[in-house]
Every structure is written in structure tokens, then in C-alpha cells.
């Protein structure tokens, strides 16, 4: 999101899912296993394809949507900036760029071009392995079919160069004038039902709700007044991975975890466990005794989505009502109630403190609307009546915003960034000759806390595995072996092996859902310097046969 905020001034999906089937004429899909990870977003893409829209997929794995694409390009993992610069080289040199848009709505083009002109398709082929003519064809397809939408997910962001990758994507969309129009845009597909909302609500170390910086004196004063307190901190806080490391170093002593499972989702799990075990006090609020909860000093039973009222914000900034259908089991309580009860205990000495008296989530939303300008017009009554609202929705008479940056970017002019290609932090070598990349699959979800307890889903995919190209299997002498050990500098796991042409030689893929063979035992905790995202999509491993054939 940091990359988009730098380019446009706002770090969210620019357009709306329903626009894809209605308006989009070309899709560029990269680092997104859309049909498996976001099936109902993919259905809008496939509907568009039926009426003739073009689909270009650029991904190191031939994900399902790659097989349906008009063009599928397979780069070496970790080379995204190179092929993105290559696409722009072709678009500029073949005069397919949108000159009017560049002149009127952007800045920094010249600076960017000085870098991009060093990426002719032949050089890009050397770096990425994408044939130069395929790259040219993709550039033409994207630039000549407007509106064109770029869709991406963690395959782009989970790199040490994640922010660079996103800035390059923003460059490409601006270069072709694909912003501020329905059906175009730069569209990060968020992987969790409410990851967009958690960011919007200030669940980040640097911002209050609606991205108001904690370092801004005005924002600090505003929230001190709204919350009836003094002395809010203006120091930017720690990210998840930094918190885990700080726990290991004894700088962080207490951790409150609400509905997260960093033990399985963080990079380099053994390290994460050692760090969390050093905490003086760990509280975990969740619906199951997750791997993280097992380390806790106190576990608080929360409620599932079906047991409480509230709102989720979907990937296209769509705010929708979540409604209580059943009671939580036993003594479990809605998470908002637990937080209010805890806060009242912590502030009981304060006189006439009414800050934590919320009769229901509707009143919490009223407070959010008062302090978060982009949610200013959101009420439960409107959501019940209108179904959903897309932010920014600054006032109760504002209809919401299906696509961003119409006529003007949030930051005024869109900013091009000059980005040089850099290799991933850990590259294969003699000892660890393969690139490991991790991701999701259709039937399981994230750390598996929910899906692995859903019989029909678990039955479809009960076992972890590694995908490998048959050429590689022959080369390392697998010769019919069913199980392998995958070893990195951090650890080793044993998994079944699946041979498939969908993955290019030199690369292996492991889904990260499985605690018994957690892919994140192997991954590398190297972080993007700005967004602090771990490099889950590239690390070096070796693969060894185990046991009988």
C-alpha cells in the first residue's frame, strides 16, 4: 500500500470488482492466483473475457487463470521490476503511451524514462527469461485495449522489493492513462475479508483511522479531543515482524493479539516462537486455540463472524454489514464487548469516563464516522438500506466512490517513480539450488484455523505438498519418490511432491496453510525497507528425496 500511496496519495484498490465484467477490455494479472484465491473476482474477469476482453497473465507459476489467458508469460521469481520496466519501454518506444494523461495529470515522467529506457525487451529477457517478443505482445495488448485493469496480490508485494514492484505497476497504469476511469486502475486484491478495514481503522503503526499520520500534530490534537485523553504518542510504532523481533530482544514485554496467528503466518517460524516465548505476558483473543494461543498466558474466547454485528470492508473499499445469526458458544463474547470491558477496567479510576460505553456496534460506527473522514457518511441505517458503500463516503448525502482518482489524484498529480531492478535478498546457489515461492490454494485459507476445521474443505486438500517441474525431479534423482525434504538456511520440512509443468524449472512452490509442514519454517525474514513486508515469494532451498519409492 505504501507504493500506491507514494504514486497516487491513496493506498487502496482504485476501481471496483463489478466494473471488471462491465467495462474492462484488458486485464493484466500478476502475482495473483485469482481463480483460487479470489474466485468471485475471477468470475468478473471471465465474464469480461466472454464478451471479448483480453487477459494477460504474468506469473512464475502457471496459475489456473494463466491457462485461460490470451497471453501467459513466466518470469523468474523476483524479477517483476525488470519486466514492468520492459513493458513500459515497449509502450513508450512504440508510441502507445497516453501523452495527454501524462502531461495533464502526472509528474516525474522524464526521470522515470531515464531508467526505463535501459530495459529493452532483449535485456529483460536475459533477466527474467520472458521471450522479448512475448513481452512486446503483452505491452501492445495492455496498451491498446482501454480501459485496462491491473490485478495483483501478494505475489507482487511479498518481496524485499515489494514497494518498488507496486510503484512500477502504478507507473505502467499512469503511462497508459488507465486511472480515474471505470474498468481500469491498479487493483491490489486483498487476501483477508477485512484487511482493508483493519488498515482503514488505523490498525497500523503509523496512522490513526483513515490514514491520518500519528506524526501529525493536527491529527494528534484531533484524536486527543475525540478520545478525551492527553499525551497520545507521536512516535511511529512497530510492525508485526518488528514486534516479534523486539520480543526476542526483550524490548517488547507484553503482546495483545486479537484474532491473528503470527506463529504460522510470520516468516521463519522457529525464530518467531523463540521470540514470543520470551514475552512476559501474551494475551490471545481468538475463536480457536491457535498455534499462537498455545503460547499465551491468558486466552480470551472471541466470537466468529456469525455471532456478532459489525462491518467488513472488502478489497474494493466496499463497506458492508456483518450480522449476528447465532449466539457465541459457552461464555465466548463478541470481540468488541471484550475490548470495552477490558478498557473499562483499565480506565475505571478516570472520573465520568464514558469513552467505552457503546450499547452496540452501530454507536462505534458513529464514532468512526466522526473521526475518519472517508467513513464520514457511513451509518448502519444506510448500509441496511443501500447494501454497501465504497469509501470515500465523506457525508451522509454522498453516494460513495466506485473508482478513485477521477479528474485528480488524491495527492494532486500522479507521481512516476524511477525504479531500477534489484535481485531478491536470497538467491539460489550450489547448496540451495532452487527458488522456493509460497502461496495459497483453493480449498484452504491462510493459516488454516477455519478451513482445516471445515470437513469438506479439509477433505479436498488434507495434506501439504511441494510443486516441482518434472525436469528438476529427474535432475535431482527423485525417480518416483513420493516424499521429499525441503531444506533452507532456516529449517526443513517433509512434504509430498507433486510434479507439474505449471511451475518453471528451478522453482518450487509450497502452499503455506499447513502447521505440520509449515512453509514459513523455510522462508526468509528479509523485509522490504519501506512496507516491512517479508520476502515470502523468494528464498533458496534444496530438495532431497526421503524414504521409499
Amino acid at each position: 500500500m505504501a507504493g500506491l500511496a507514494a504514486a497516487f496519495g491513496s493506498g487502496a484498490m482504485t476501481n471496483s470488482t463489478p466494473e471488471f465484467s462491465q467495462y474492462t477490455r484488458c486485464f493484466l494479472i500478476t502475482g495473483s492466483n485469482t481463480t483460487e484465491a479470489h474466485p468471485l473476482v475471477a468470475s468478473h474477469v471471465l465474464k469480461a473475457k466472454e464478451r471479448g476482453a483480453k487477459v494477460v497473465v504474468i506469473d512464475p507459476r502457471e496459475v489456473q487463470i494463466g491457462r485461460l489467458a490470451d497471453l501467459y508469460l513466466r518470469p523468474r521469481p523476483g524479477t517483476d521490476v525488470a519486466w514492468l520496466n520492459g513493458l513500459m519501454y515497449v509502450i513508450v518506444t512504440e508510441e502507445l503511451a497516453d501523452q495527454e494523461f501524462i502531461e495533464k495529470r502526472t509528474e516525474g515522467f522524464e526521470e522515470m524514462w531515464r531508467v526505463v529506457q535501459q530495459y529493452p525487451p532483449e535485456r529483460v529477457e536475459e533477466i527474467t527469461g520472458i521471450p522479448a517478443d512475448d513481452l512486446r505482445a503483452a505491452a501492445r495488448m495492455y496498451a491498446q485495449n482501454k480501459p485496462a485493469a491491473i490485478l495483483y496480490a501478494m505475489g507482487i508485494t511479498q518481496h524485499t522489493t515489494g514497494v518498488d514492484n507496486v510503484k512500477s505497476i502504478a507507473n505502467l497504469a499512469m503511462l497508459t492513462g488507465n486511472l480515474g476511469i471505470p474498468g481500469g486502475g491498479v487493483n491490489p486484491l486483498r487476501g483477508q475479508n477485512n484487511v482493508q478495514g483493519a488498515c482503514d481503522m488505523g490498525g497500523l503503526p503509523n496512522v490513526y483511522p483513515a490514514y491520518q499520520p500519528v506524526t501529525s500534530p493536527e491529527a494528534k490534537a484531533k484524536f486527543e479531543a475525540a478520545w478525551g485523553v492527553e499525551g497520545l504518542s507521536d512516535r511511529i510504532g512497530l510492525t508485526v515482524v518488528e514486534m516479534v523481533n523486539a520480543a526476542g530482544e526483550g524490548r517488547l514485554r507484553g503482546l495483545f493479539v486479537m484474532g491473528e496467528n503470527p506463529m504460522l503466518s510470520d516468516p521463519d517460524i522457529q525464530h518467531a516462537r523463540e521470540c514470543l516465548e520470551r514475552l512476559e505476558f501474551l494475551v490471545v483473543q481468538d475463536i480457536f486455540l491457535t498455534e499462537t494461543a498455545q503460547l499465551a498466558h491468558v486466552v480470551l474466547p472471541g466470537a466468529s463472524f456469525a455471532e456478532k454485528d459489525g462491518t467488513f470492508t472488502a478489497t474494493d473499499r466496499r463497506i458492508q454489514r456483518v450480522r449476528k445469526a447465532v449466539e457465541p458458544p459457552g461464555q465466548a463474547k463478541a470481540d468488541w464487548e471484550i475490548l470495552c470491558e477490558l478498557a473499562k477496567r483499565l480506565t475505571q479510576h478516570a472520573i465520568r469516563n464514558t469513552q467505552w460505553d457503546y450499547p452496540s456496534p452501530a454507536e462505534i460506527m458513529s464514532e468512526i464516522a466522526r473521526v475518519a473522514p472517508s467513513y464520514g457518511g457511513v451509518t448502519y441505517e444506510r448500509l441496511d438500506r443501500e447494501g454497501s458503500l465504497q469509501w470515500p463516503v465523506p457525508s451522509v448525502d454522498h453516494p460513495g466512490t466506485p473508482y478513485l482518482h477521477k479528474e485528480k489524484f488524491t495527492r494532486g498529480l500522479g507521481r512516476f517513480h524511477a525504479i531500477e531492478f534489484q535481485e531478491a535478498a536470497e538467491l539460489p546457489d550450489e547448496e540451495y539450488p532452487f527458488i522456493l515461492t509460497t502461496g495459497r490454494m483453493m480449498f484452504q485459507f491462510h493459516t488454516g484455523t477455519m478451513t482445516r476445521r471445515s470437513p469438506k474443505l479439509e477433505q479436498e486438500a488434507p495434506e501439504p505438498y511441494v510443486e516441482m517441474n518434472p525436469e528438476d525431479a529427474a535432475r535431482i534423482g527423485l525417480d518416483g519418490t513420493r516424499r521429499v525434504r525441503v531444506v533452507s538456511r532456516r529449517g526443513a520440512i517433509e512434504v509430498a511432491v507433486r510434479l507439474t509443468e505449471r511451475i518453471r524449472p528451478g522453482v518450487v512452490f509450497i502452499p503455506f496453510h499447513y502447521a505440520e509442514a509449515a512453509a514459513n519454517v523455510l522462508t526468509h525474514a528479509a523485509l522490504d525497507p519501506v512496507a516491512k513486508i517479508p520476502e515470502y515469494k523468494v528464498c533458496a532451498v534444496r530438495v532431497e528425496p526421503v524414504g521409499e519409492k
Binding site: 468471485l40 510504532g237 507484553g254 486479537m258 467488513f312 480449498f443
Partner: protein, 135 residues
């Protein structure tokens, strides 16, 4: 017999598909897609169709737990929240606010995330607030 269809949002990916939970006498018995929903248009993926399968699972936590040695024992809300409040305040007062961290959740509601960051910032005065957006 009490039967209701409750319109809500799928708890899995960020697409935000609409679905109905079919509730019979206080128990979820099924899921139906929401025909009029602008994103899901009456369809669901296999995760959506199984969106409620974990809700009544026997592994659900039903009571607060407090660690004793290598095991947990069941506790009342009063005891558990009292201990949490005491320990968090102790850490803040001994090591300072930034010795505390708060992980909010991409699975919880907006209202809950708002309250969790408000708790960290307004009560404990730390910006050590994050969630798994990057993971």
C-alpha cells in the same frame, strides 16, 4: 421451530461476497448465496459455501483460559480480564508504553479494529499496532 436467513458477508478472502446464513433454532444449518449482491451475483466459491462450517466446531474456545505451568485452566471473565489489565498496566508502568504491542485483526470487524487501536493508543499511549496486512 424458528427459521431465519441472515444476510452477511463471507469471512474468507477480501472479495466481500454476500451470503445468507440459514439459522434453525439457534444453529446454522446452511449457507445460501445472495442473488442481488453486486460482487458475488448469486454465486459462491467452495469456501463461501462452507463459510459457516467451523462456527459450531467442538474445538471452539468457550471460556477464558489462564496458563498454569504447561497447561491451561478455565477461568471466569472477571479473573481473566483482571489479570490482563493488571499485567498490561504492570508492563507499561515498569518498562514504558512501547514495551507493549497490539496485533489487531484482518478477520475482525471494523468496529473491533477501531476499538483495539483506540485501546493501544488512548489507554496505553503506544503506536505499536499492526496486523497481518503484509503477511
Amino acid at each position: 421451530m424458528d427459521y431465519r436467513n441472515i444476510l452477511t458477508v463471507c469471512p474468507y478472502c477480501g472479495a466481500g461476497c454476500g451470503l445468507y446464513l440459514q439459522v434453525l433454532d439457534g444453529e446454522i444449518v446452511g449457507v445460501l448465496p445472495a442473488k442481488e449482491h453486486p460482487v458475488s451475483e448469486g454465486k459462491l466459491c467452495i469456501k463461501g459455501w462452507n463459510a459457516a462450517a467451523f462456527v459450531h466446531h467442538p474445538d471452539r474456545l468457550t471460556t477464558p483460559l489462564i496458563r498454569e505451568g504447561n497447561a491451561f485452566r478455565e477461568a471466569s471473565w472477571d479473573e481473566a480480564l483482571g489479570l490482563v489489565a493488571e499485567q498490561l498496566l504492570h508492563i507499561r508502568d515498569t518498562y514504558g508504553p512501547d514495551a507493549l504491542g497490539f496485533l489487531v485483526s484482518a478477520k475482525c470487524t471494523n468496529e473491533e479494529n477501531y476499538l483495539a487501536q483506540k485501546l493501544a493508543r488512548a489507554v496505553f499511549k503506544t503506536n505499536n499496532v499492526d496486523h497481518c496486512a503484509r503477511l
